[in-house]
Amino acid sequence: MKNHVSEDQISAWLDRQLSPDVSLRIGKHLECCPSCNRMRADMAATTNLFREIEALAPPPYLWTRIAAGLHQMEPEPVGWFVRLGIPFRQKSWMRAEILAFVATVVLACGFGISYWFAVQSERQQLAAIDRAYHSLLPQNAESFNPFATSPWVNTESNPFANGTSGPGGKLSPGPQVKR
């Protein structure tokens, strides 16, 4: 006979673990195939020997021992972190909401920290420019007159010396400033 049933299929068939149509097909094959049927009979006999093993009852004192063990067990101290996690186990929607909140806080903190670093970096750059500027100035800045050596000071070539820049060719006097 062709198309014998594989031995593992016969094993699963004996344990009733195949789908109904496969089980029916194998059952029909076994009825008309002596070699497969012999294999089935061998396996069935082995199975039956083990299924006839008498089940033992657990000793009656076993529960007493377990109950005593349960009483001895002290409740484990629950930390604040675990306590926070307890609602997570109960409701999935709460878990999603809290996770979303935590993600938002983490993102906000991330942005805040990066912004703070950017501001600090800009400040440091400005301070460096400032330091460079001050380092270029002479020691006594107040006495420093950039026009001291200018050719315009006390020279005849000073275009403002004869007051030609005013409306009448004379410099108009400025407003009197009371001190």
Binding site: E7, A12, D15, A41, A45, T47, L56, I66
Partner: protein, 199 residues
Amino acid sequence: MKSDSDIRKLVQDAQVGNSEAFEGIYGNFASRIYNFLYRLLGSREEAEDLTQQTFLIALKQLKTLRDPSQLESWVYRIARNEVYQKFRRRKFDSVGEDGAATEDSAEPRENRLHANPEKALLNVELGQKLQAVLDGLPLKLREVFILAVVQEMSYKDISIIVGRSLLSVKTDIYRARLTARAELGKYLNLEQSTGIDGQ
């Protein structure tokens, strides 16, 4: 064995610390777990110790069980893990373990004793032989074989308990069956003459 809704109720009650619910859970699964461990270890004392350990862990950790309908698989998984831990410890332990198995399996079982002393003797002998066959199987095959053949669990549940694929479970059961068949040749001839069928 209680229904799914009863089990669910038991688990919910036990999760809030109801001690009667603890006992209910124990009463529902103790026999199967104890027999599973006994067949796996071949020793009553060890089976008792591990049953106790299994239920202590299960009842202590019950709050972590999210789906009460998975209670049975979960308890079996704890029991199996305890067996694996025990075997790991045995590897490093120099103390022999041969005594316990033979001593336990040699115990007479009263309700197996029949009027016919020959048959009773045969039963005792057969019981010892079956346990010896189980003991001779590699642990990986033994656990699935016991669950499938002795405890008549579905392959799907077995695959959840042992954490292996359905195909692997199916193949392992088949391999264990072949080994057992080869070991039990003498008894098989006896059974076949009485005309036992599988389905």
